[in-house]
Assembly symmetry: C2
Homo-oligomer: 175 residues x 2
Amino acid sequence: MQRIAIDMDEVIADFITKQLRLFNHDYNENLTINDLMGKRLRELRPQLQKEILEYFNDPMFFRDLDVIPDSQSVIKQLSEQFEVFITTAAMEFPPSFNAKYEWLKEHFPFLDDMNFVFCGNKSIINADFLIDDNARHFKNFRGQGILYTAPHNINVTGYDRVNSWLEVRDYFLKS
Amino acid sequence: MQRIAIDMDEVIADFITKQLRLFNHDYNENLTINDLMGKRLRELRPQLQKEILEYFNDPMFFRDLDVIPDSQSVIKQLSEQFEVFITTAAMEFPPSFNAKYEWLKEHFPFLDDMNFVFCGNKSIINADFLIDDNARHFKNFRGQGILYTAPHNINVTGYDRVNSWLEVRDYFLKS
């Protein structure tokens, strides 16, 4: 059985919406997703990089993120024909461990938690496919990288790309 | 560069000594390591299996474990010639995430935390070698499993075995 590894933030967990809402509130701005095309918030507001990263050290930041549309139903379908692992770069924000675990148990109860991986360098992942919004993780990945579109990566080229979970479904399940 | 993945409990973290001390105190027993040869505490006292597993749900259980002798110096040496990852089955005890992370940062400060992996099913690990006290993790592991001797595994056969970190050093570094 082939194995698909799936990232969390900006792939199944809607990280940007909450980040923008908090940032706009705290700094009296009105930034939108369109302002983030091709870059991250910390690149758009480099003078506030430290403060922006600080959001992720709140142990609860990751607990109430919205689920990316269709990810639940498509991953449920995929898990019938593939081994599915969730592989998230949680070591970048250790206070997030528990919130990420609880979020996964809440929104993806059909996945086995023995298939959750909290890591940093994703070249340690032994899978046939990796669906991720960060192309840097594909560099030393042994399988096929699939770039999940997020505002920051819209100008990245050179990888298979999917723009939605319906496209992921078609990528793996179209007959 | 070849990659070595290393387990935590009973390989670099002395888990049994603390478990026995707590158990003997709480249940007025005098069990020793010798009583655990070839089995786990929960197999020796199956009527207390639930209580024994409960110890690991204390978020601090894993925080103050002793370091297995020579593991620090040998892993430091290994990390000069190999990529070293720490791969622990933390998903079995989610409350342990933070204690395990802090323990690693305290005792193995020379390792990059991007090389820490908290997982469940270790077949997801892409490495050339896996040093582990649980032979079950070798079954679908793509590299070479190396069984680190622990009381519970002394009767397990069919794998390369090391009895100490000095033997690990010889396994990888003897000229």
